[in-house]
Structure formats: C-alpha cells, structure tokens
Amino acid sequence: MKKINIKNNLQKIVFLLCIAQLGGCASLGVEPWERQFLAKEEMALDAEGVDLGLDDHIYFSKEATSGGRAFAGGGCGCN
C-alpha cells in the first residue's frame, strides 16, 4: 500500500493557495489618492526595523527556527 505523504501534500496545498492569491491580487488594492492610512510611517512593513533585528537575534540564538520575515541567514555563534 502506498503511504500518503502528508507533509508533501500540505506543501502542495500551501503552494496552490499562494498561486490562487496571486490571481486575486489584480482586483485588490486602492487608487493612489486613497493611501492616507497606508502611507503612515507605522504602516511600513519595516517600521520597527531595529526592534525586529534585535528580536531576530534573540530568537535565532534561543530557538531552532529563524527567518521568515527576512533571510534565515547565519551570522553568529550565539549561545
């Protein structure tokens, strides 16, 4: 009997969902004059870059997973 590989199937589903999202993107969005909220400094994805960098360093040293938001990288022998 063929063993069903749940992990592989899950990866395929996630991939298909991402592709489906791409198709829907064309109808999403705002006109340039509707960006008063989006243009706020605190709405930038890197609004708290220094904090996020420090957090990445802490969690990189203390947990087995890194990256996601940015490159997983390496860079220190943190204990």
Binding site: L28, G29, W33, G73, C76
Partner: protein, 431 residues
C-alpha cells in the same frame, strides 16, 4: 508673530491637501532626502542565573533622491553568563572539563549543568544599497560582517522587487549567501567523543594527550544559502499583507562545540558525557504571512510563520503588536508572541548505555520540544524637534518539554526540562 502663524496654517493646509491627494509634499521630500536618518538602540537581555546580554545598535539611512537609498548598521554586543551544556542533572555533584581543557568546574547535586565560561563580544557591520533599475523595479544589494572571539561570518545578498497593479502588488525575489568560520575554544571536539576528566589521569600530560585525541584541529566552517520569494499586497485603504516563502540550505559544521550528551546506566546515573554530533547539512522551508491594519488611532500587526526542515523540526510562530496612539505624539504598544517547535530527530535528552550509540545525538534543549511566550509593552514619543524615543520591556519564557523519552531511575526525580525566563529592556532613539 501673525506671519509665523499664517505660515504654519499654510503649511498645515498644504500637508492636508497632499494627504488628500495621496502625495507627499515635494518640499518635505527634499528635506527628507537630504538628511541622514539615525536609529539607535540599546538592549539588555537577562536570564535568571544564565546568559546576560547587552547589545547596542547604530543604524544610519539616507535617501539620495529618486529612491536611491543607502543604509548601514553597526551592532555591538557583549555576552556573559552560563548556558545549559546539555548534560543531565544528577543526584550527586558532577565535574566537567572546561572547553579549553584548562581546568574544570563542578555542578551541584540536582542542578542543571551550566557551562559558565561564556564571555564574548561581537561586532557586526552591514550595509545595503537599494535603487530602481527599470520602471517599477528596484534592485537591492547588501553585505554583512560579524566577528566574535570564536566565530567569523561574512555574507552578501541581492534582491529584485517589482510593483504591479498601480503599486498595490509587489513581487520580490532575493538570494543570500553566508560564510561562517568557527574556531572553538580548545578546538572542535570530535562528535560523540568522550569528555575527558583530568581527575581520571595520573598526570597532566596524560590528560592532555587524551584531551587532544578528542579534538579535531581542522578549520571548521559552514555555508548558508537562502532564497526568499515575497508578495506584498494592498488589500484595501487600511490593510496590507505580505506572504513570503523562504528556502535555506546550510552545509558544513553545524555542531555546537560546547554541548554535551550524557550516557546513563539503567538507574539513570551518568557514566560519561559525550560531545554532541549533528548532521552536517540542514534544509529549511519557511512560510511567513503578515497583515497590518490601520485604525484611526493605531495599527494592528499580526504575523504567522510555519517552518519545517529535514531535521524534523517543525515550528509555528504567532507574533502580534497593537499600536495605540494615545495622543498626536505618543503611543503604547502591547506585544504578544507565541512559539512552538517539535524536536529534531536526533535530539536525545540523554543516551542509555544499553542501546547502541546513534550516529547523531544532541541534548541541546533548543533542538528539543519547546513552547515559548513573549509579552511586552512599548511606549514611544515624538519630541517637538522631530526626534523620537521609545522604551520597551518584555518578558520571554521558554518552556522545554519532553519529546516522549521516558526518564530512567533517578532522572525521574530531577528536572530534565527546566524553564528559562528572560527579561528584556530596550531604549530607542531616532534622530
């Protein structure tokens, strides 16, 4: 006086008009483009009875006009304190050889063995240059360099981002390469070699010979290659989302040279300690989703990350921040983060004498099953001169749990998975 007031009103009106039109005032842009922006921070991280870290950050950024942006960052941190060695607690006093082979240290009965020799200063420098290359397309390249006593890391990255759909959709593709060179204190131990104890030898010379036989004097290094695919999408006037997929391959020396695994007998007593041994390759996949939602007086920021790798470590992370503007110039921001991971396939809290030695084994709790929580609060303020400052305090708790390995004999009465609580305090200043 009246003139100044009128000027202020005119400027406010101009700003309001620009906000309505969704454009930045041209003059403000010019001023912003000329000026360097500096972000500085100092962070204290302290675990009860373990690691203490102080880290300083100095970040400089300048927009040279037409989206030609340069940024540079200097990070200096200093670390002291003790770190869990991986060896199990025992009902009696235990003696361990220091990583250098010079001297030993003792751990009291019932206590988790901690190696207290950590003392390191790290300097990290990075730079990034971003500029448009075609219409709606930007390229970004960067480097980073990090050096500490036993570790050197150099890396470079490059990415391409393109806007579509009236700049509501951005697709990005990035690659990064990192070279790390590790020069452990007392050379790298050979994987699963037995930790030698001076007390078991007749002379210092005999101990040295035995100690040296457990060391590999070859240079140790590793290569990390990352690919990151990103999609940023404006959903509506108040919401935007980001989806990332990250692929990472690490190849080379992946052991922690200072970690041990205890071999116990059928009553749970330690017979010897071995130096850990991990596979020399690891492939990771990350999926990351983030949403930011603008309220009239604040921002909700929620992200989720799923990660899986061929060491069988799966993890889920939820990170959320809620910024609440309590006035025109100040805000408070609660932060909550939850993290959970499964154990690496070669994670062993201890090894049993009666079972054959595996090819790989690590008792590093960071590779075991674990949950972690962070709760924090940040307060920020903009000063009348435009400078900004903020302070945040956080509590971070790591809760390692058993991966199902049954404790044996005396180990049943000892804490094999102690929790670690850390306190974080940070001060930011932007000018």
């Amino acid at each position: 006086m009246q003139l100044i007031k009128d000027k202020k009103v005119a400027a406010t009106l101009a700003a309001a008009t620009c906000a309505l039109l969704g454009t930045q005032p041209a003059q403000a842009n010019e001023q912003k483009d000329d000026a360097w922006q500096f972000d500085t921070a100092i962070l204290y991280y302290g675990e009860s009875d373990r690691v203490q870290l102080v880290e300083g950050v100095f970040n400089a950024k300048k927009d040279f006009g037409d989206e030609h942006i340069f940024s540079a960052k200097l990070v200096v941190d200093t670390l002291t304190g003790a770190s869990a060695s991986g060896a199990v607690a025992q009902p009696g006093v235990q003696t361990f050889t220091r990583p250098s082979g010079n001297g030993s240290y003792q751990v009291n009965a019932g206590e988790t063995p901690l190696d207290d020799t950590f003392r390191d200063t790290r300097v990290q420098l990075s730079g990034q240059w971003t500029q448009p290359i075609f219409e709606n397309t930007r390229v970004s390249t960067g480097f980073n360099f990090s050096n500490e006593y036993d570790y050197l890391s150099i890396g470079a990255n490059a990415s391409l981002a393109r806007d579509f759909n009236r700049k509501n959709t951005t697709l990005s593709f990035g690659v990064s390469y990192q070279f790390d060179s590790i020069d452990p204190v007392g050379y790298a131990p050979i994987g699963l070699a037995q930790m030698q104890l001076a007390s078991e030898f007749d002379s210092e010379e005999a101990f040295r010979t035995a100690f040296d036989a457990t060391r590999d004097t070859e240079d140790k290094d590793k290569d990390t290659f990352d690919v990151l695919l990103g999609l940023t999408q404006v959903i509506n006037k108040r919401m935007l989302m980001q989806f990332n997929y990250g692929y990472s391959v690490v190849d080379g020396y992946l052991n922690d040279p200072y970690k041990l695994v205890s071999v116990v007998n059928d009553t749970g007593l330690t017979l010897r300690n071995l130096h850990e041994n991990r596979p020399d390759e690891r492939t990771k996949h990350n999926v990351f989703w983030q949403t930011k939602y603008a309220l009239d007086s604040g921002v909700i920021d929620v992200s989720y990350r799923y990660s899986t790798d061929d060491w069988d470590i799966d993890s889920h992370t939820i990170d959320s921040r809620f910024r609440w503007n309590i006035s025109e110039t100040s805000y408070i921001q609660p932060h909550f983060r939850y993290y959970t991971q499964s154990a690496a396939k070669f994670y062993e809290p201890f090894l049993e004498e009666s079972t054959p030695l595996p090819m790989f084994a690590s008792a590093d709790y960071r590779l075991g099953e674990m949950d972690a929580y962070t709760i924090g609060l940040k307060y920020g303020q903009t000063l009348s001169n435009g400078h900004k400052w903020a302070v945040r305090a956080e509590y971070y708790s790591q809760r390692p749990t058993s991966d199902g390995t049954a404790a044996i004999g005396v180990l049943n009465d000892l804490d094999l998975y102690p929790s670690i609580d850390a306190f974080i305090l940070q001060f930011n200043y932007h000018f």
